[in-house]
């Protein structure tokens, strides 16, 4: 066993046993263990395979900084197990190997590939023959990687987004962060502290009794009112104190008046051949194993250090009964030639100037660097302090401060350039991406002599550790190779996120918002096939035959749910004057109780929406819009009136009002069965609007020609939706009443040549070219919105025209199909349907203006062949509108 006898300050609870599965075999841990510490205690040393060479890698930092311990936990890949608490029954697997973690067949790339795999080798080696690249790519992608997602999918956790506000946000729960948070909270400020590990304490947690001090600091912080989030990873730091935080299955978007960055330090590796072997560790990693988890990490240890941290690790190791076979303090004398040698990827010996010492653990301490990444990403400058050999963040953004290690309080390292064997083979700079000092030199020799270019070429700093362990060493290698100093080389741009996070966290809920009318359940009960229209779900049709559904409307009476129409109330003494300004036509002269069609244009003259306007009384207009335009029109109206400040008010009624259109020759008879009001042709004329009672419910009845038959559009409070719908169906049974969906409605409206804004118009459509010049009333006193551009379109001469057409051959072109004239694309089909009623294929198309004459001919591409079409001006069905007015 590698566990020590119980230690006075250990963090594990030996009375609790937790069992999880590693590669199918049970591993028993104590309470307080991490998956990483439990695996180490069970004797495991190889934790992962490296990205490119598949070299065995073991625990190095034990702090969640490096990528050496990434495993797949419960189906989620690339989890750093050194900071992941054990969970009963968790299923843990190694990743990125062929075979097993201990015997990875892909390791051949390390044995053979070394000389052949310099940076960018795949661009150089695999370019010919070109057509084989897809194959090469497949092989390369399989060979390098970071675990796999289970294709069958693991249960996806629900992810929520939460918004929080705070006076002060402290990022980092080490000693400096806890103290700052406590002080601010004691001063009465609302403080949130986020810590990326499962518990606060930071560097204290490596000390023998550190967690007791951490617990005391935590107790004080909580007593002062600090709100603690852990584990919680600050993804980035943006302007105005905005910090999105990954908090397990929540994305907490915190907005703080002041942000304090207390992210501490990152211990740096030394650069020497074999510095990536299993058993080469950073001092705090070793100390955490000994002091927190009571593990004897090895039998023999060799310590290489540039600062006191290595000495502290040496003391802890000796106390744990590890034989210290060597201690090399790099602050004393000339840096020697150091090399770690291994067998099967595990360290066996250290060679110092040729003198070999056998050991199974090497502690390397290259002295720490401030963990300034969050500050750099937020816009701070990073400057190299030559005397101390560290990069220090300066010029912090407004309202951002740094404390503790992140601010540069890292002690005083005596060796400012702890790069050693930078010429040697397998002296790793970037452990995540398998890049050595030699690779960097190679890149520089190839001309990638700026650090930003080199980063992209070699991918140093682009792996999961995001440069924590390689950024500084890569700059130092650059400095040596180019003869420039560190400040001249500069640092690479830091970008969020600093720690890998799941895409699901950014994607949030997979749900799509849907709007349903009050009749939704009734439609489903009738077997309607529902379809999306914007955010709404609406019935496409109720049976398999939409054509028959349309004919039913011509023959008897049909009902369609038009509750999705936008509905606005415009009221006030100047409501009519307002509408005169936003519509091309006039509404101030509309008589109370009458309805008029209107189209909205912008000042560019383009058509944006259409609908009906009913005047209810002198100061009240009821405006309907397209189903998808309700919000846009509301904003459009209020926008203009924000400036004009006419005495008019706007009320959005879309959700409050349900609407049903009853249309067909028997529509009047149906109305008379459900209402005592006068629905006669004299009592309610075409384009009349009247308050009525239908099925006992107060309703506004608009007599309009929605689908080309005698029709009544009933608008009434939404809660009565089901009642009115059911009553109409029931009372109309003898009249053969039937519901109809959007698809039959498209056919019916097309038979009348009705334009659907957005379907038959596009961003170039103006009133003239959409064949609606009759709407333009330029004699109005105000320069209505769109007037000038509409006039300009008429003045320049019309180029296009929206026309109806028939397909004499019966071939049905696709909507969007090209209009072809003399072999040249000249317009497009916007709508097309087969009308059973007319026995014809009919449609609308945008064609050159010259063709807009009855009987004009043009071709449309149908299945690659030019098929002739014939222009038809005016409605296809009931051109005189007799049925509407009957």
């Amino acid at each position: 066993m590698t566990r020590l006898a119980p230690q006075p300050y250990e963090l594990i609870d030996r009375s609790i046993a937790v069992t999880f599965l590693f590669d199918g075999k049970p591993v028993t841990a104590f309470g307080g263990d991490t998956i990483g510490s439990a695996l180490y205690a069970s004797g495991r040393r190889v934790f992962s395979r490296s990205f490119k060479y598949h070299r065995p890698r073991g625990l190095m930092c034990c702090s969640g900084h490096c990528a050496n311990c990434q495993m797949t936990v419960d189906g989620e890949p690339s989890i750093r197990v050194c900071v992941t608490p054990v969970r009963e029954g968790a299923v843990v697997k190694g990743q990125n190997f062929v075979g097993s973690l201990d015997r990875d067949l892909m390791q051949v790339t390390d044995k053979l590939g070394g000389p052949f795999t310099p940076p960018g080798f795949y661009y150089k080696t695999f370019i010919r023959p070109r057509r084989l690249w897809p194959l090469y790519e497949k092989v390369l992608r399989g060979a390098a990687g970071l675990g796999r997602l289970d294709p069958r999918g693991t249960p996806r956790p629900r992810i929520d987004v939460e918004h929080r506000h705070a006076d002060v946000l402290v990022v980092g729960g080490g000693e400096a962060g806890l103290r700052t948070a406590t002080d601010a909270a004691s001063a009465g400020r609302h403080v949130i502290l986020v810590e990326e590990g499962p518990e606060v304490g930071g560097a204290l947690l490596a000390d023998p009794d550190g967690h007791l001090r951490a617990a005391e600091l935590k107790r004080r912080a909580l007593a002062a009112g600090v709100e603690l989030l852990a584990p919680a990873i600050a993804i980035g730091l943006f302007e105005y104190g905005f910090v999105p935080v990954a908090c397990e299955n929540r994305l907490v978007r915190i907005r703080a008046e002041a942000v304090v960055v207390a992210t501490g330090i990152v211990e740096q590796p030394l650069v020497f051949p074999g510095n990536d072997l299993v058993g080469v560790m950073l001092p705090d990693g070793v100390r955490r194993l000994v002091n927190r988890f009571s593990i004897k990490p090895a039998e023999r240890a060799f310590v290489l250090t540039a600062d006191d941290r290595g000495l502290a690790a040496a003391a802890d190791l000796e106390r744990a009964g590890v034989e210290l076979v060597g201690l090399l303090d790099l602050r004393e004398g000339q840096p020697p030639n150091i090399e770690a040698r291994g067998h099967k990827g595990r360290v066996e010996a250290v060679s110092v100037n040729g003198k070999l010492t056998r050991t199974d653990l090497v502690v390397m301490s290259g002295s720490p660097q401030p963990n300034y990444k969050l500050l750099a990403q937020a816009g701070a400058r990073v400057e190299y302090d030559e005397t101390r050999g560290i990069f220090i963040p300066t010029d912090l953004p407004a309202s951002v401060t740094a404390v503790g290690g992140a601010a540069g309080e890292v002690g005083e390292p005596a060796v400012t350039t702890p790069v050693l064997g930078y010429t040697g083979e397998k002296s790793f700079i970037c452990f995540c991406e398998d890049q050595t000092a030699k690779d960097l030199k190679y890149a520089i020799a190839e001309g990638f002599d700026s650090i930003e270019l080199s980063k992209r070429y070699t991918t140093v700093t682009m792996g999961p550790c995001q440069g924590r362990l390689c950024h500084v060493n890569s700059i130092r290698v650059y400095a040596r190779a180019t003869g420039l100093d560190e400040n001249a080389i500069g640092t690479t741009t830091a970008r969020p996120p600093h720690t890998p996070i799941t895409l699901g966290l950014l994607a949030g809920h997979p749900e799509e918002p849907v709007k349903r009318t009050s009749l939704h359940n009734a439609h489903e009960a009738l077997g309607a096939r529902m379809m999306w229209t914007g955010a709404w779900k609406r019935p496409h049709s109720y049976g398999a035959d939409a054509g028959a559904e349309a004919r039913q409307v011509h023959r008897a009476v049909g009902l369609i749910d038009v509750s999705t129409l936008g509905k606005l109330l415009v009221t006030g003494p100047e409501a009519g004057a307002f509408l005169d300004r936003v519509y091309p036509n006039r509404f101030s002269d509309l008589k109370a109780g009458r309805v008029r069609y209107g189209v909205l244009t912008g000042d560019a003259g383009r058509i944006m929406d259409d609908g009906t306007v009913a005047r209810l009384d002198d100061e009240t207009f009821y405006v309907t819009t397209t189903s998808t335009g309700a919000d846009a029109v509301y904003q459009w109206f209020t926008w203009w009136n924000a400036v004009w400040q006419l005495d008019a008010r706007f009320t959005q009624l879309t959700g409050a009002i349900a609407a049903i259109n009853a249309a067909g020759p028997k529509a009047r008879e149906l109305m008379e069965r459900v209402s005592a009001d006068d629905f006669s042709n004299e009592g309610l004329r075409y384009l009349d609007a009247r308050q009525v009672r239908v099925a006992g419910v107060p309703a506004l009845a608009l007599r309009i020609g929605f689908v080309g038959e005698l029709g009544y559009e009933l608008h009434f409070p939404s809660p009565h939706g089901d009642h009115v719908w059911e009553t109409l169906l029931e009372q109309g049974r003898e009249l053969d009443v039937a519901p109809f969906g959007l698809e039959p409605q498209r056919i019916l409206r097309l038979e009348k040549g009705h334009v659907i804004v957005g379907q038959d118009t596009d961003s170039e459509s103006n009133l003239h070219e959409a064949a609606m010049p009759w709407l333009v009333k330029n004699e109005k006193e105000f320069e209505w919105v769109g007037k000038w551009a509409t006039q300009a379109a008429a003045d320049r001469g019309l180029r296009w025209m929206l026309v109806g057409f028939e397909s004499p051959s019966g071939a049905i072109p696709v909507e969007g199909g090209q209009v072809v004239i003399d072999g040249v694309s000249s317009g497009r089909v916007t709508s097309v349907r087969r009308s059973e009623e007319l026995g014809k294929v009919i449609g609308l198309a945008i064609v050159p203006h010259a063709l807009a004459v009855d009987g004009g001919r043009f071709d449309v591409q149908v299945n690659g062949k030019a098929v002739p079409m014939r222009v038809h001006l005016g409605p296809f069905f009931d051109p005189a509108g007799e049925r509407l007015k009957a």
Binding site: E239, W532, D631, A642, A792
Partner: protein, 112 residues
């Protein structure tokens, strides 16, 4: 300078106070609608199609989805600093916004 991420903008609605940007809609630079009864084609084009697109403080329209009112803001286009916000007076104009932007919000089928 800050690295810019639009998502992090905070804007003060004159009614509702500081709000996250997704609670508001930015409708772009404010412009001046020609006063003339019949502007020249050039004046019309300037108003409808051209924007200053400044690096610096610009005046723009915002719609608050909370109180459903429009207001004007002066915002630095690079730093996202919002200098001031206020409700418009008769001197301001929604300008050459045509329906294209409103229409572009109407994704999906366009069925009446």
């Amino acid at each position: 300078m800050w690295n810019i991420a639009d998502m992090s903008l905070l804007v003060t609605c004159p009614n509702c106070g500081p709000r996250e940007v997704e609670e508001l809609r930015c409708a772009g630079e404010s412009t001046k609608r020609p006063a003339a009864a019949a502007p020249s084609q050039r004046e019309l084009n300037e108003y409808v199609y051209f924007r200053d697109n400044v690096w610096g403080v610009q005046r723009e329209w915002w719609f608050c989805r909370v109180c459903e009112e429009w207001f004007l803001a002066e915002r630095h286009t690079y730093t996202n600093e919002v200098v001031r916000t206020w409700h418009p007076g008769p001197a301001d104009s929604p300008g050459g916004r045509d329906g294209s932007e409103a229409a572009s919000q109407q994704e999906g089928a366009q069925v009446l």
